[in-house]
Symmetry: C2
C-alpha cells in the first residue's frame, strides 16, 4: 500500500490537474490511515517479539536481522503517533504543497505562511510523540537518518563550515570563468534527449524507469521495476536540468540497483537519506563534473547542441561546469558553497520547530542568514525561503542529510578510486560498467542501510570526517 | 479507495514503464481485495436494510433513493463474487493488457491467446456467481448497463442492422469524396493544441482535467476535480486524434458536469455505459461532424494547419469528415457503419463466453464475420481482433453499450434540437453554452442513471427506437 501512496504522490507533483488537490488529499489521508492501522496492529508486535530472539536475528547484517531491526524501529515509532495526526499531516501537506507552488510562482510568502504554521504545529506534535527526551528536532531527524543526532551533526557541520570558509578564502581571485557558455540557448527537447542518452550510458534502465518534468526535481520508487526521476528544464541554462537530472539519476541508480528480492523490506530499501544523497551528489559532482566524464560526454553534447557549443573548447566547458560563485539557489549551487545553503536551513528549521522563530519572521531571518553565511541577499522570497518544497510537505530534518551526503560521497569517491585505479580512463572511454559494479556490490546491495555512518566507515576503512570532502574540493578548486 | 484504483489504472496505461507491470498487478490486486472487503461487510447489508424502508427511499428519483438502490445492487452483486476471484481478475488483467499491447504492436495473436483464455475462464466464473438463471452474458452486461438484457439488445440490434443495411444500399454511388484531405501532414504538436483549444470551446475545464496520449483512448474519473481523457495521434491522419479526443471529451464533459455534491455515490455517477456512450457519440458525431460546429471550428483549423488546409474549401472539409466507407477499425469507422463493428463484437463475445467459440479460433471467426457484415477482410490480426483493449481488461458486455449509446445519442440530439431551435446558429458563432446548460440540466444532473432507457425516454418523450438513429443517419448521408 505504501507504493500506492508513492504513486499518488508522484502523480500529484507531475500530472494532476489543480482541481484534483482536494480529492488527492482525501485519498492520501485515507490510505495513510489504512497504512497506519496495518503498521501498528498488536499482531505485528507479537510477531516481532517472537523472531527477535530467534536465529533470524542472529547475524546482524543478514537481511532477516536488518528487516527485524527495521520493522521494530518503525513499529515503535509508528505506534507513538496517533492515526488522526498522521491523516491530518497527509491532508495538510497535500494542500500546502499546492499552496507553496503557487506562492513560489507569485513570490507571495503570505499565501504560504498559514500553511507553514500548520505544518510546524503538526510536526511539533509529531516530535512530542516520538521523542525519548532529547531535542524535538532529533525525533524528526531519525526519520531521515536513523541513529543520527543534532549534537553529532553540529560537530560535523561546525568543522566543515570552518574548513569551507578557509577554502573559499583561498579560491583563486579573478579567475577567468566561462559560465556564460552554459547560459546560451539549449532547446528543451534536445536537453531531454541528451539527458536520456547520458542516463542510459550511466546505466539507468528506462524499461524500469522514467524521466518527467516537475517544479522541484525528485525521485520515486513505485516498485522494483518502476523507478521514476524528474527534472526541470530551462532553455537558457544547460546546468539546471542536466545536473538536477544527474542528481536524481544518482538516487534512481541506487533504487534500480537494490536487490529486488528484498523489495519493500527494510533490507531492500535505504533508510538513510544521507547515504541516498551520497549517491545523488556522487553522480552529480564527483562524476558529473569530472574531466573524465566530460571526455566521454562533451563530444555528444557538441553534437546535440551544435549552435550553442560550436565555438566552445573542452577546457572552457569543463571550467564552466565547475564554476564557483555563491548564489541564492541551493539546487544551482556549486560544490564549494552548496553546504552553506544547508547550514542555513538546518539552523532555521531547528529554530522554527523550537518556536524560537515564528513562521512570519522566516523571510527576514532567511535573508539575514544568507547575508551572513553566503554573503548574498536573495532578490525576493521566491528565490529565498520559498525555493524548496521540503517544508511544504512536512520534511523537517531532511536538509542536513544533503550535507551528510556530500561528506559520505567524498568518502565513497576516495574508496572507489583506490579500488579502480583506472576509473578515469575507463570513464573517458564511456565505460561506466566497472563503476556501476563497484557501487552495486558495496553500496546498492550492502543492505545494512540502518547504520549509514558505520557502512561508509566500513567501506572506506576510516572514520567519517569532513576533511575528506574539503580535501576533494580543495583539489578541484584551489589546487588546479 | 476506488479512486486510487482508478489512478493506478490510468497511470498503467499512460506513463508506467514496462518494468512496473508486476508491481502494478500486485498493487491493484491488493487494493481490489480491500475494496471488496469494504463493499461486502455485513454491516453494509444491515445499514441498507434499515434505510430501505425509511423516508430516504420514499421518492424514487431523490439522490438518497438512487443511492440506496445503487448500493443495494452493488452489495448484492459484490457479495456473490469471491474475493480471491476479484483479486485474480485484477492481477491477470494488468498483465493481459500489457501482453495485448505488445501482441497488437507485433501482430502476434498467439502471444495474447493464453491470456484471453484465462480472462474468459475468469469471466465465466464471475458470471456463474452473478447469474440468477438467465444467460451468463446478461450477468456481465448488468455491470455496464443495469437492467438491460441480451434479449432486448437482440431485438434492438436486429432492427438497427436491417435498417442500416437498407441505408448503406441507398448511399449515393460514386459520390465524390475528399477523404484524402484529412490524410495530409498534420504536425502532432499542432493537433494537440487544436484539440485543447476546441475542448476549451466546448466547455472542458483543464483546471479540472487533462489530456494525455495512449494506445487506446479512454477517460478516467480520479475525483470530481480531476477528470482525465486520452487520445492517440497520427501525423498523417487528422481524424484519428481529433475524433477520438472528441469522443473521450464527451465522456469527460459528462463527468465534469456531474454534481460534485454526490461525487463517489451512485447518484453522482453514471452507471449506464449506454448513457455515457451517448454523450461521447453525441459530441463525436451529432456535434463534431455537423456543419454548424465546423462553421466555428474550420477557420481555427485552417489557421493551425496552414500547410495542410490552405487549398481546402469548407464544403470539401465537411464532406471529408463525413466520409462513409467501411473499414477494418472500429474507432475510425464512420457513423453509418460503426454499429456493424459492434454487432460483430457482441456476437463473438457471447460465443466466447458460452464456449461456442474457442479463443484460438477468434482470428478466423473475426475475419469471417467482418467479411459477412462489413464486406471487408482485415489485413492482419492487429487491425482485426487485436484492435480493441476491452477483452484484455476483462470487459465482456461492454461493446453493446456503444451501439446503445448511438441510439440514445440520436434521441438526445432530437430532444436538444427541439428545445433549442437556434442551436445551429449558436454553434456556428462558437456559442456552446446553451447546449452545455441543456445537457447539464437534463443529462449530467439527472441523477437517476440506474435506468438509462427510462431516463432517455422521459427526456425525449418517446420510447427508445433505433429508427430515430437511422433517420438521423439517412438525413446526413442519403438525403444530402
Amino acid at each position: 500500500m505504501a507504493s500506492c501512496v508513492e504513486l499518488l504522490g508522484w502523480d500529484e507533483l507531475t500530472y494532476m490537474p489543480r482541481g484534483g488537490v482536494d480529492q488527492r488529499g482525501r485519498q492520501l489521508a485515507y490510505l495513510s490511515g489504512l497504512l497506519h492501522d496495518a503498521a501498528t496492529g498488536d499482531r505485528i508486535g507479537e510477531l516481532l517479539s517472537r523472531v527477535e530472539d530467534s536465529d533470524l536475528a542472529a547475524e546482524p547484517e543478514s537481511p532477516s536481522a536488518v528487516n527485524i531491526r527495521g520493522w521494530r524501529r518503525s513499529f515503535r515509532r509508528t505506534r507513538r503517533v496517533p492515526r488522526a495526526l498522521v491523516q491530518e499531516q497527509m491532508s495538510v501537506a497535500t494542500a500546502a504543497q499546492q499552496e507553496w507552488s503557487e506562492a513560489r510562482r507569485n513570490n507571495d510568502f503570505a499565501r504560504f505562511q498559514p500553511w507553514l504554521e500548520q505544518i510546524i504545529r503538526l510536526k511539533r506534535e509529531e516530535a512530542e510523540c516520538l521523542t525519548d527526551g532529547g531535542p524535538l528536532y532529533d525525533a524528526l531527524l531519525e526519520d531521515f537518518e536513523p541513529g543520527m543526532t543534532s549534537a553529532r551533526l553540529d560537530e560535523l557541520f561546525a568543522a566543515l563550515h570552518a574548513q569551507l570558509k578557509a577554502l573559499i578564502a583561498d579560491l583563486p581571485k579573478r579567475r577567468r570563468t566561462h559560465a556564460g557558455i552554459l547560459r546560451r540557448n539549449f532547446a528543451m527537447d534536445r536537453q531531454r534527449i541528451f539527458i536520456e542518452s547520458i542516463a542510459g550510458d550511466l546505466g539507468f534502465d528506462f524499461e524500469r524507469g522514467r524521466l518527467d518534468v516537475t517544479t522541484h526535481p525528485f525521485f520515486s520508487n513505485i516498485g522494483p521495476g518502476d523507478i521514476r526521476i524528474t527534472t526541470r528544464f530551462n532553455p537558457s541554462d544547460f546546468s539546471e536540468a542536466f545536473f538536477s537530472a544527474l542528481h536524481e539519476l544518482g538516487h534512481g541508480l541506487f533504487e534500480q540497483g537494490l536487490d529486488p528480492a528484498n523489495a519493500g523490506m527494510p533490507s531492500g530499501q535505504c533508510q538513510s537519506l544521507g547515504l541516498h544523497e551520497s549517491q545523488s551528489r556522487f553522480w552529480e559532482n564527483c562524476i558529473g563534473r569530472s574531466r573524465a566524464f566530460w571526455m566521454h560526454s562533451f563530444p555528444k553534447a557538441k553534437e546535440m547542441f551544435q549552435d550553442a557549443l560550436h565555438d566552445v573548447r573542452f577546457d572552457a566547458f569543463l571550467a564552466a561546469v565547475n564554476h564557483v560563485e555563491p548564489g541564492p539557489i541551493r539546487v544551482r549551487a556549486d560544490e564549494a558553497t552548496y553546504n552553506l545553503h544547508i547550514f542555513v536551513r538546518y539552523e532555521l528549521e531547528q529554530a522554527l520547530l523550537k518556536g524560537d522563530l515564528a513562521a512570519a519572521d522566516l523571510p527576514s531571518a532567511w535573508n539575514e542568514r544568507y547575508r551572513d553565511v553566503l554573503g548574498i541577499t536573495p532578490a525576493d522570497d521566491a528565490e529565498g525561503c520559498l525555493q524548496d518544497s521540503h517544508w511544504s510537505s512536512g520534511q523537517f530534518g531532511y536538509f542536513p542529510t544533503y550535507a551528510l551526503g556530500n561528506i559520505f560521497a567524498a568518502h565513497l569517491n576516495a574508496a572507489v578510486r583506490s579500488a579502480i585505479p583506472d576509473l578515469d580512463p575507463l570513464m573517458a572511454a564511456g565505460r561506466f560498467g566497472p563503476l556501476s559494479e563497484w557501487l552495486t556490490e558495496h553500496v546498492y546491495r550492502a543492505r545494512a542501510f540502518d547504520d549509514a555512518t558505520g557502512l561508509v566507515e566500513r567501506i572506506c576503512g576510516c572514520p567519517v570526517n569532513p576533511q575528506v570532502l574539503t580535501n576533494l574540493l580543495r583539489s578541484r578548486f584551489v589546487e588546479v
